[in-house]
């Protein structure tokens, strides 16, 4: 089960190359997102996703808040 992490851990993982995935709408993503985050809405996650992300690097997902 994916581990829930806080802001400090996100910052630490980014420093070691973690990939950030913003799962919100494109409009929300375009408005503002975390540095370097790529946009993959929840509904678009599927068999083709491994082609967009590195499998050997940590991945961090986020949305707006605890929704």
């Amino acid at each position: 089960m994916p581990m829930v992490i806080d802001r400090d851990e996100v910052r630490r993982l980014i420093q070691v190359g973690a990939q950030l995935v913003d799962v919100l709408s494109l409009k929300e993503y375009e408005r503002a997102h975390l540095p370097g985050a790529i946009h993959i809405p929840l509904k678009d996650l599927g068999q083709e996703t491994p082609a967009r992300l590195r499998m050997d690097t940590p991945v961090i997902t986020y949305c707006y808040d605890l929704q």
Partner: protein, 154 residues
């Protein structure tokens, strides 16, 4: 939503998947870097004053008034954890030195999230005829304030 996304990634074979539970609301609340269209929009968190006078429910207004720094006419009422409970304004401060803050404060004052544009907060202050707006973190803790005089001076 992101918890489900993280679980889905795991199901697709990703072995190191994490879920930033507090999300970008939390990230932006602390003024950390952002990308996107609003990179050049000034948010409240970019300009807020963090050194703000505070007091507690049981404090006496006379004591609060005496320790208010020069230039301040209001005091933010907070819990021991820093959560905003009220606002002690000029009227409350003048209500009598022996009165408890809790009796004379404005309870449940309007607050703004730090990732709201400075312009929106400024407009609110203009519309309401007030000179200060409170900025709180997602968990309700006081982060600072925007004062009309500084906002207009920018």
């Amino acid at each position: 939503m992101s918890a489900r996304a993280a679980a889905r990634l795991e199901s697709l074979g990703f072995s190191e998947v994490f879920h930033y539970g507090a999300g970008k609301q939390d990230w932006f609340a602390y003024g950390l870097p952002r990308e996107g269209q609003e990179t050049h929009t000034t948010w409240a968190v970019d300009v807020l004053l963090r050194d703000v006078p505070t007091c507690h429910l049981g404090d006496l207004t006379g004591e609060v008034r005496a320790r208010l720094p020069a230039g301040w006419t209001k005091c933010v009422v907070v819990s021991n954890e820093g959560v905003v409970l009220g606002l002690l304004d000029e009227r409350g401060l003048e209500s009598g030195p022996e009165r408890a803050v809790e009796q004379v404060m404005e309870a449940g004052p309007r607050t703004f999230r730090p990732n709201v544009s400075q312009q929106r907060v400024s407009q609110y202050m203009d519309d309401r005829g007030t000179d200060m707006a409170l900025i709180t973190s997602p968990d309700g803790k006081l982060m600072g304030v925007l004062r009309l005089e500084e906002v207009k001076g920018r």
